[in-house]
Amino acid sequence: MSKTLLKLDSVCTDIAQYHILHGVSLEIPEGGVHVLLGRNGAGKTSTLRTIMGLWQARDGSIRFRGEEISREHTSDIARRGIAYVPENMGIFGGLTVEENMRLATHKGQFDRQRLSRVHAQFPAMEKFWTKQAWSLSGGQKQMLAIARAMIEKRDLILIDEPTKGLAPAIILSMVDAFREIAQETTILLVEQNFLFAKSLGQTVAVIDDGRIVHTGTMAALAQDSDLQTRLLSLSLDSHQ
């Protein structure tokens, strides 16, 4: 059994007067791809943003490698080795692809070996290296967002719905990319697309109404159609 990398314990988050997370408890083991599933508005994005410190947890504990991070500044959390790929990709459109990538490096210098790997994984990034990012297509922007997260060694990458709005061919290439990234990094993937999640995930947690309602292995969930229907009917209906 691999050791726990990230542990959320009874995390509650409010946005203005609204209570969004009502005591989320979740353990992410080190290594592999772990999936957080749930319908729209269930609290998936809020969970990632709370882990990243973009929204402050009102209550509860978030421990990364055993250390409490729930009160830390976002930049300090990032410096612990946690990368975040938001739903809107967080690309800087006015900067070139190269500048977007350089920002994600520790001291502004590329590790040539890693850069070569990124280029091999996402050839479009090399092709459009000097182009401004706003000129990329939706799929290329998503690739840039993921390439940016892997240009440095990270311990954990939080990825929010990477397949949203993408063509099936691009989603397939993303599966390969995620498998490669997962060889050296832990991924916490938020998804609504169950087929994509199923092809990658080792463990799965299902969130609904700001609470974790199921945890287990992805293999078990994939084989249990009754459980899928009970937990995910809304998202499966729209994606399968």
Binding site: M52, L54, H73, T74, S75, A78, R79, A83, Y84, P86, G90, F92, G93, G94, L95, E99, R102, L103, A104, G108, Q132, W134, R148
Partner: protein, 330 residues
């Protein structure tokens, strides 16, 4: 049609607008010597406005702060420069160009240094408590502006103060039947140097990269491991220092200043950053040059329209490009 658009883009695209404006003005004015005098005056005025506006554009773009107190830095810069030049009267009026330059350098440096320090104080005390709250930003920065103007009145009094120009910047250069004020050439040159410096910092350094990224998406810059709040202070201090420098240059241009010098310029400064596009140094320069040229040409061609000309220019540009000519965020 596409071919024409491609060719225009190839030769500078939207950057050609001031050239187009100048060509149209040449046709309307008809007298090349008058046109050249007005053009140099417009470019010099544009560069001084650029100094005052560039910092505010970055502050707007990066920090999302509506700082109506920006004009206080322009006013203080003008008065501090005037006081330093008055105190160094013998250097200012000397026939020795080195003494002239030393006096000018001292005046501009004092104003800029004040802008840096006052900018730090203003950000910490006035701005920091009201981040992300536009209504309170407007109220508190307007209040700070009123207090600053009263401080100027208390220190320098209500009467207009004359600003001596260093000897080497007085007079004009005569080219045929064209007379060009030396001060205007200097103002243009200084503005150009500042623009090139800012451009180099923003486009060739890591801090510049962070500022440009922060203008687009502050949250993501933090998620990449950078403290954007520390960047805020630096940008605010730089913006305040540039405003004070612009105020010092404007004081030398006007030669007679009052406590309202900053607030009188503020409308033009806002027009410039809106025309140029928030958070963009290139856009601010483009907007400032357009406003400077437009103001001078229209004041000559249709004096009664002079005040309205920049408003009309802003309306026309916003109808064409709602986010300004070169906004930082696309």
């Amino acid at each position: 049609m596409n071919l024409i658009a491609t060719q225009i883009e190839r030769f500078g695209g939207i950057n050609l607008l001031p050239v187009l404006l100048a060509v149209v003005a040449l046709v309307l004015i008809g007298v090349p010597s008058t046109w050249l005098t007005l053009t140099v005056a417009g470019l010099a005025m544009g560069m001084m406005i650029f100094l005052m506006a560039s910092g505010l554009s970055l502050v707007f773009g990066l920090m999302d702060v509506l700082n109506f107190g920006h004009s206080a830095f322009i006013s203080f810069g003008a008065f501090i420069a005037a006081s330093v030049l008055a105190a160094l009267g013998s250097w200012v009026g000397a026939d020795n160009i080195l003494l002239n330059i030393a006096a000018l350098f001292a005046a501009i440096s004092a104003a800029t240094l004040f802008g840096l320090v006052a900018g730090w104080f203003f950000e910490r005390v006035i701005i920091k408590p009201v981040y992300r709250d536009h209504l309170r930003q407007i109220l508190i920065t307007m209040g700070a502006l009123i207090v600053a103007e009263q401080i100027i009145l208390a220190i320098w009094g209500g009467s207009p103060i004359s600003v001596p120009r260093p000897n080497f910047l007085s007079g004009s250069i005569i080219l045929g039947d064209v007379s060009i004020e030396i001060y205007r050439l200097f103002a243009f040159g200084l503005g150009l140097v500042v623009f090139l410096g800012l451009y180099a910092v923003l486009n060739r350094t890591r801090i510049g990269l962070l500022v440009r990224a922060g203008v687009e998406n502050r949250e993501m810059v933090e998620a990449l491991g950078f403290r954007i709040d520390r960047l805020f202070i630096g940008v605010f201090m730089l913006g305040s220092a540039l405003a004070a420098m612009g105020g010092a240059m404007w004081a030398g241009y006007e030669t007679l200043i009052t406590a309202a010098i900053g607030s009188e310029m503020m409308i033009i400064v806002f027009i410039v950053i809106i025309i140029g596009g928030l958070g963009s140094i290139e856009g601010t320069l483009l907007g400032a040059l357009m406003v400077g040229l437009m103001g001078n040409y229209v004041a000559f061609l249709a004096p009664k329209m002079a005040l309205a000309s920049n408003m009309l220019l802003m309306m026309a540009i916003l109808l064409w490009r709602p986010y300004g000519l070169r906004p930082a965020v696309k």
